[in-house]
Amino acid sequence: MRYAMAIDTKKCVGCGDCVVACQTENNVPHGYCRDWIVERVDGTYPSLSLEFRSERCNHCDNSPCVRCCPTGASHIEEGGIVTVTHHKCIGCGACIQSCPYDARYSHPDGYVDKCTFCLHRVQKGQKTACVDVCPTKCLHFGDLDDPNSDVSLAIKDRSWKVLAPEAGTKPQLYFLT
């Protein structure tokens, strides 16, 4: 099993609904976020292109954050989901430094926090909160090992890219282009 997410940049409008839905679902404090929107503009008026990306932890196959964690708080759950056991975390921040995607933050309670791919929902067969709320249905989640999962079908006939492939982390967010 290999959980992954595909983000359709041809449909995303950058509304930030995924960010609020994550905040309310996961009790993320105001002023912090586990997912975020990147807007990229290329060209000169009027020859322009614009890409919105809903970004979050890439739940990398080769995850530097897990490797560098001195206490084992950062670990990999079933399906490749990278999470932090809060009570084991000492808040040293090594994982924050090691992440090429800036996907982790220091929670005001002292531990490091990040996207969990909504593990508590996924374990019950639900989708992540961000996927379920997205008005443009531009987010696709599922098991890459299942050829009929939403994410497998989404990337099947489309071109896609991953972010910072040069970091060698084998990221599991696929941006459809």
Binding site: C15, G16, D17, V20, T24, N27, Y45, T136
Partner: protein, 751 residues
């Protein structure tokens, strides 16, 4: 200069009381995230309550999930609701922030005067505040007649006060949603098709092959089901054509982006009409059978060629032809989106007419993938005596003005409140419910003069919006998640209704709008119009007439009904009578001709920015609704202030840096109260700047929104009034940059 109605900033005045209640709350804890270490809660451990959203006018049905401590944890869309299909937009998802915003209005407030003459708000009991408003209503009725008591409203809270004022004898109401927003569209489509496009608009985006957006920035305005369907249309391979001087989100997702010179849209529309007619691309059978005035139109647009339009719009003639042909290829599954906020240049009804005419030529009104025939559920009125007949209404403030207005015009209501305008009928007092007039209305001096002129203002809101500073009495309203409200019934593909019930008890000393209206009604001896103890009785009675009950609706939230008015679309060649003077779709408007207006639209040249000035274009951001969400803790997290978009070429000329704070000054020397950050971006033309509407709040009690960004409406002092229906065209304002604090400059001059 002092006026009777000194603007009271709720935080600074009545200081002690406000500060104490804030501290008291702090100690009890008020936040959604009070238990910080608590993780996510399973849906099974939460209780869902049905509601429909009040963060914007789309009114998506949803479930509010409440935990065991009585805290609303999240709000999630109702899957059976055609407004949202189970997916709320960011504002709906963040609606929970409206409840837990610690800056909420908490008690009734009454304006008072200290010994030194300064005015302040003191906390009052409900009894005192309600008595004060009821007494004033009695006084106005005796002195001037009930008609002199006016109502400004928006959204569902306004409905309860509309009922109150009708019972009292007044129909002097106006809402910014008409003359300051979508009014020209209503008049344009009604005069063409004898029907309105409604809300949600009856655009069949789901099944369209071509979607044309003219200044409509879907995706930035999160009109939920439309944004969802636009996404479906992208999947379906529909052609999207966007006309916008700004590289909007929709433009970025379009096959054709026409970066038009602002204010020239009618020229483009007429050239498209020219191409359809002179290349023989229009739907001949449809036009022959259903429309009136093709010959007039054909003659009228004879010289309005793409080459003619090129010189006006800067859009290449071939691109005009290409896009017209793309529309014809897709017809009748093509949508000329009627837009929503359409008050731009004062000839907006005519622009709407051009869009409606284009729709008719493509044969897409009443067709799959075009515009469908919506149908709503008629909710029976809870029994009450007939309303008294007012001697005059909003139609009569001033004679012979704006003959085709279908609702009260807000700017006319303001003028009717100012004696020097000498209107035939004058307003002496206002109720304001759910609309923040100082930030939603253009021409601030006019608003201020009107507010100073009337004898009394009562305001109901959930937040200390700027409008509360002008009030004599402020009512703290319970948020939509804490109250019963009117049954939602909006026309759609399938007729449907939605229930709003409280998920939690009202926080603080806030009360539902229905309760406030009823309490005033009782004090005016109007009990028969409010013949219930709780509004749930009204809803239950109405639901039973509709074959359901409160009990059932509490479980399902949304109920759909079969259509009674026939199919969603017209059959080919089907007989159809349009509700217009000729019974046909009027390419040539008989009504307009009768009233002395152009029966077929003409392009009019509008003023250009002077040297060193730039046209101010404003719009929406997907996570905010006007000024009402700027202080929402969840939504201000996403966007806490607006910025002014400046083209890099312009930024170079001025030496502006990204993120630099500037003040804006307009052609009439109006200067923004607060600085605004510069965003240098290629997404805006060099002759224009852009900013998101709804920021620059002046009330300090809005702890997150105060002084954040600038208000576009402060820069809108030039209003081009639409002679047909009174719309307030607001895009004819030009701004320049002040890189130094204008307040400092003033001091230096004095020194």
């Amino acid at each position: 200069m002092k006026t009777r109605r000194d603007f009271i900033k709720i935080s600074t005045a009545g200081a002690g009381a406000a500060a104490i209640s804030f501290k008291a709350l702090g100690s009890k804890g008020f936040g959604l995230f009070e238990s910080k270490t608590e993780g996510p809660v399973s849906d099974e451990d939460l209780t869902p309550y049905p509601t429909y959203c009040e963060v914007c006018f789309w009114k998506c049905a949803a479930w509010a999930y409440v935990d065991k401590n009585g805290t609303i944890r999240k709000v999630v869309g109702n899957k059976n609701d055609p407004h949202c299909n189970g997916r709320l937009c960011p504002r709906g998802t963040g609606g929970v922030g409206m409840v837990y915003d610690e800056d909420r209005l908490k008690t009734p407030l009454i304006r008072d005067t200290r010994k030194d003459g300064t005015q302040y708000f003191r906390e009052a009991t409900w009894d005192e505040a309600l008595n004060k408003v009821a007494d004033k209503m009695k006084e106005v009725k005796e002195k001037y007649g009930p008609e002199a008591f006016g109502l400004f409203n928006h959204g569902t809270p306004g409905g309860h006060f509309h009922h109150l004022l009708r019972a009292y004898g007044s129909e002097s109401n106006a809402e910014p949603a008409f003359a300051n927003c979508r009014g020209p569209r209503s008049s344009a489509y009604f005069s063409t098709f004898g029907a309105y496009v409604g809300s949600p608009e009856c655009t069949d985006i789901r099944d369209t092959k071509c979607l044309v957006l003219i200044g409509s920035h879907l995706g930035e305005n999160m009109h939920n089901s439309q944004v969802q369907e636009m996404s479906d249309a992208i999947d379906n391979g529909a052609t999207i054509i966007t006309v916008d001087p700004r590289f909007s989100t929709a433009a970025a997702h379009s096959n054709h982006w026409l970066p038009i010179k602002p204010s020239t849209d009618i020229a483009l529309l007429m050239a498209w009409i020219h191409v359809l007619i002179y290349e023989g691309l229009y739907d001949k059978d449809y036009v022959e059978q259903y429309t009136f005035g093709l010959d007039y139109l054909k003659d009228h647009v004879k010289n309005m060629t793409p080459e003619w339009a090129y010189g006006i719009t800067t859009i290449e003639p071939e691109e005009i032809r290409r896009t017209a042909r793309a529309m014809a290829d897709a017809a009748p599954a093509v949508i000329i989106h009627p837009g929503r906020h359409v008050v731009w240049y004062g000839d907006d009804t005519q622009r709407g007419r051009a869009m409606a005419i284009l729709t008719a030529l493509l044969g897409s009104w009443g067709k799959r993938g075009g515009l469908y025939f919506p149908e709503g559920v008629s909710v029976p009125a809870y029994p009450h005596p007939h309303f008294p007949e007012p001697k005059w209404t909003w139609k009569d403030w001033n004679e012979d003005r704006y003959p085709l207005a279908t609702m009260g015009i807000t700017t006319e209501a303001l003028k009717a409140s100012i004696p020097r305008y000498n209107y035939k009928h004058q307003l002496k007092a206002w109720l304001v419910a759910g609309t923040n007039l100082p930030l939603s209305m253009p021409d601030k001096p006019l608003f201020k003069e009107a507010a100073d002129s009337v004898e009394f203002i009562a305001v109901m809101d959930t937040m200390p919006m700027d409008i509360t500073g002008y009030a004599d009495v402020v009512f703290p309203e319970a948020t939509y998640l804490e109250r019963y409200d009117v049954i939602r019934s909006a026309a759609n593909r399938e007729p449907n209704i939605a229930l709003r019930m409280p998920a939690i008890e009202p926080k603080y000393d806030s009360k539902p709008g229905w309760w406030i209206a009823k309490q005033i009604g009782e004090r005016l001896g109007l009990h028969d119009y409010f013949n219930y103890d709780d509004y749930s009785e009204v809803i239950d009675w109405q639901l039973k007439q509709l074959g359901t009950s409160l009990e059932e609706m509490k479980k399902i939230g949304v109920k759909k009904y079969p259509r009674k008015t026939g199919p969603l679309y017209m059959g080919d060649g089907e007989d159809y009578n349009f509700n217009t003077t000729t019974g046909k779709i009027e390419l040539y408007s008989v009504d307009f001709a009768d009233h002395g207006f152009d029966p077929i639209p003409n392009y009019t040249k509008h003023p250009e920015p002077p040297q060193n000035f730039y046209r101010l274009i404003y719009g929406r951001a997907p996570m905010h609704t006007f000024s009402r969400t700027s202080n929402n803790p969840n939504l201000s997290d996403l966007m806490s202030e607006n910025s002014v978009w400046v083209n890099p070429k312009v930024a170079d000329l001025w030496g502006l840096k990204n993120g630099q704070e500037v003040w804006l000054k307009n052609q009439d020397d109006a200067i923004t109260s607060f600085p605004i950050k510069v965003r240098i971006t290629e997404r805006i033309r060099w002759d224009s700047v852009y900013m998101v509407h709804g920021f620059g709040h002046k009330n300090k009690k809005l702890s997150r929104a105060f002084g954040k960004g600038a208000a576009d409406t402060e820069m809108i002092t030039n209003v081009a009034v639409d002679p047909i229906m009174g719309g307030t065209g607001m895009r004819g304002n030009f701004i320049t940059f002040l890189t130094e604090d204008p307040a400092l400059e003033e001091k230096e001059v004095k020194a």
